[in-house]
């Protein structure tokens, strides 16, 4: 007798957690699967371990058990992510798929929490209007979103007030606040929590921006600054991005929506369980349930009329492909990600970059998106410029040293001893453009230990990425100069990585079932009853971190599910 569930949720991250909470709140019994373990109170409390979480990436899926391959183009043979297979195996957990276990990516995320602006929903139209129909490459697959800011505004509000976001509003109902974002879209009310304390040198960044004519403001953060619902205030421990939170300040679905769902008694969570197939009924037109491997590796089926995939754009896409739910060929297409243009500098005073969280930072938003000024460099869409004042531990810092510095010996050691405490950084988030050339599919050769096909990423940085990186590098350099930087260096341009934890597009939303995978509510066109949620829903990528929009879309999807039930 096959097990039956009222609703199945796969992945309890940003989106899955919200669905679990919304469904259980109205009495639906939800069976949730997560590939990772239920992290223990001990792991949360004593998380200050750079070797465990940075060097060994113990929160993220290891390539040895969850292989992902990459190639720059269709001619080159794919291989296991080369930027993440360092000499010791996994390296740079930021540039791997996000953490697993209930909480998902929100277990370890920095917590930058942004709304799109209206322009982010009409990127295609705005670019064509400003630069002409021929501005985008012939193989561009860029389209506008089928919804806009006013559709999502109530859901953004819900994310910020239900789950908790701290910050300073820039535009409440049309009234501008000089402390907030000067280009913010109007919002019905401000943030429920005041801004976080920023690390030491961030005021120097703000002053430099001001002198250069930019208004830097507090980055909105999914981190509590005061007690708020299930969250406790941040203590600025400096082990933030990439780490669990030891005081429940970080707005992780684990301590917000998943905890609330569990409290109803309607949520059954199966951890270390990997769903490997979504099943359809005999007619092939409706979802029937899922098949999964339990913690011992035994395969089971579960039947359900409602299945929600929330295991990240990449894994969602891999599952759909492995389940052969891709009649129109759109699954896996339109792969987009961010390049960051990480840059670092040495400041004249101690910056103490190991205090405070990464996202307690300042942002210049006036050159983002369509606001990027006219230029001769081919930049058609801009980016945020965000400070990195804190959250830098020694081993990670040692991975981001000036390229001309000797890599070992006395000069290396003395430089690091002298300058670790003076480090400061700035980054962008340059969105890549969707194209027929860049997509994900199933690797024909590589399989995981369960015999499941690995995801293969076909992506390379394109002309616009390079142009935008170059354009913004000059700006970051000038800000650092204005700050009094003694040294300045950047990561390679373009960068060696092709994952940023901000992958989107690969199961995009649309009103036309032949050119999209899901509708505006995240429901599969091809397989009713199946919802595919997350960044994969995005038709385009903005200069902002995607999570708050993912969460807003999940609340929208949940409303729709509950209505239909």
């Amino acid at each position: 007798m096959t097990e039956r569930a009222e609703a199945v949720v796969v992945g309890l991250g940003a989106a899955g957690g919200i669905i679990a909470q919304q469904l259980t709140a109205v009495g639906v019994r939800v069976l949730a699967f997560d590939k990772g373990p239920m992290h223990t109170p001990e792991e949360f409390r004593f998380k200050h371990d750079e070797v465990r979480y940075y060097s060994r990436g113990m929160l993220v899926p290891q390539l040895s058990t969850d292989p992902v391959t990459w190639r720059p183009d269709e001619i080159t043979r794919s291989r296991l992510l080369p930027w993440a297979t360092g000499v010791l195996g996994n390296s740079e957990p930021l540039h791997l798929p996000p953490s697993i276990g209930p909480g998902g990516g929100t277990l370890h995320w920095g917590g930058a929490s942004w709304r799109h602006r209206q322009s982010d929903f009409t990127m295609k139209s705005l670019i064509v209007e400003r630069f002409g129909a021929d501005a985008l490459p012939a193989d561009s697959t860029m389209v506008d979103w089928p919804l806009g800011y006013s559709d999502l505004e109530p859901y953004y509000d819900k994310v910020e007030w239900e789950l908790g976001v701290s910050g300073v509003a820039g535009n409440v109902g049309g009234t501008r606040s000089p402390e907030g974002n000067p280009v913010e879209e109007p919002r019905q009310r401000g943030y429920p929590m005041p801004a976080l304390r920023r690390a030491a040198a961030d005021d120097r960044f703000r002053e430099a921006c001001r002198r250069l004519g930019y208004q830097a403001f507090q980055q909105p953060a999914a981190i509590a600054s005061v007690p708020y619902k299930s969250l406790s205030p941040c203590v600025s421990c400096g082990f933030c991005h990439g780490y669990l939170c030891h005081v429940d300040a970080k707005q992780s679905s684990r301590v917000t929506s998943v905890a609330a769902a569990m409290a109803t008694g309607n949520l059954d969570v199966r951890t270390s369980s990997r769903v490997f197939r979504v099943n359809r009924d005999e007619t092939g037109t409706r979802v029937k349930g899922v098949s999964y491997f339990d913690a011992e590796g035994q395969a089971h089926d579960v039947d359900a009329d409602l299945v929600v995939l929330g295991c990240y754009a990449l894994e969602n896409s891999r599952l759909l492909l492995a389940s052969d739910i891709n009649a129109n060929g759109e699954v896996g297409q339109h792969f987009m990600t961010h390049s960051f243009g990480w840059c670092n500098a040495v400041m004249p005073e101690y910056t103490n970059p190991f205090m405070a969280s990464l996202v307690a930072a300042s942002v210049v938003d006036e050159l983002n998106g369509e606001l990027v000024p006219d230029n001769n460099e081919g930049v058609m869409w801009g980016s945020v410029i965000t400070s990195i004042p804190g959250d830098v531990q020694p081993i990670e810092a040692a991975h981001n040293l000036p390229p001309d510095l000797p890599q070992w010996g006395k000069v290396f050691k003395d430089w690091f001893a002298e300058n670790y405490r003076r480090l400061f950084g700035i980054h962008n988030q340059i969105p890549s453009f969707p194209s027929r050339r860049y997509y994900v599919d199933l690797d024909p050769d590589v399989r995981d230990s369960f015999g499941q096909p690995a995801l293969r990423i076909t992506h390379d940085w394109a002309q616009h990425d390079v142009a935008a990186l170059r354009y913004f590098e000059k700006l970051k350099r000038s800000i650092c100069d204005e700050m009094g930087a003694l040294q300045f260096w950047t990561e390679p341009l373009p960068p060696p990585y092709h994952l940023s934890t901000h992958e989107v597009g690969t199961h995009r939303m649309g009103e036309n079932p032949s050119t999209s995978v899901v509708d505006v509510f995240g429901e599969s066109h091809e397989c009713p009853g199946l919802y595919v949620l997350g960044g994969g829903q995005f038709p385009t990528l903005s200069g902002y971190n995607p999570t708050e929009t993912i969460q807003a879309l999940a609340y929208l999807a949940a409303d729709h599910m509950v209505e239909k039930a």
Binding site: P37, C237, H246
Partner: protein, 212 residues
């Protein structure tokens, strides 16, 4: 934590295994000779001098030995053959194994490897196999980890690595008095995971107050 669930499955118990007390005096994986070689190699990567601790002071080799016995078991062969290759090279060029050579000669050997860069680096000996260069890169990465790990991993002995760079370690949090430009972090009592476990045991509520 508001959510409690027993960590019941084999996958859940992915805890780090720390060297047991019985392994403190002996070596978990390396032979004493191999340990001598690695200690000398790590010391060239992070050389110590009076007032400025290096890899030997931080007992980086203890970290590496522990790592090879747990998280980096897949590198055991790389280490064995890397040490052999390095010593063969030293014997044929200088008549002694690496650990017996003076520091200047050791540095010269490592410079001839081209450090951790590719063979296109000026000065790199093109006859040096890729594997020896990779071995050096592995040891370099392990040395960074062994310098700056929490001391319960065996390295960063007496917080030598953290004191070198001014990183106060596993702090519960920082307060407004600390989070100031120019503040000297050496004024804060440095903390380890063991300190955190002792000072903030799980029996107390999450909000134990700000600062160290």
């Amino acid at each position: 934590m508001s959510v409690t669930e027993p960590a019941a499955t084999a996958c859940d118990i992915a805890a780090v295994e720390r060297p047991s007390p019985s392994q403190v005096d002996g070596w978990a994986f390396l032979s004493p000779e191999e340990a001598r070689t690695i200690e000398a190699l790590a010391e060239r990567i992070m050389p110590g001098e009076p007032g400025s601790p290096g890899a030997r002071d931080a007992k980086v080799v203890r970290y590496i030995d522990g790592a090879l016995n747990e998280a980096s078991q897949d590198l055991q062969t790389s280490y064995r053959s890397g040490i052999d290759d390095l010593n063969s090279r030293c014997l044929s060029e200088q008549g002694q194994v690496f650990a017996e050579l003076g520091e200047a000669l050791q540095d010269q050997i490592l410079r001839d490897l081209g450090g951790t860069a590719s063979s296109s680096v000026p000065g790199a000996d093109p006859k040096v196999g890729h594997s020896l260069r990779t071995f050096f890169a592995i040891v370099r990465e392990h040395t960074l980890q062994g310098m700056f790990c929490d001391p319960e991993y065996g390295g960063n002995y007496e917080l030598a690595g953290w004191r070198l760079v001014g990183f106060p370690g596993a702090q519960w949090g920082y307060g407004p008095d600390h989070i100031r430009e120019g503040f000297d972090s050496m004024l804060i009592p440095f903390k380890t995971l063991a300190d955190l476990r002792r000072e903030h045991p799980l029996t107390e509520s999450p909000q134990a107050g700000e600062g160290s």
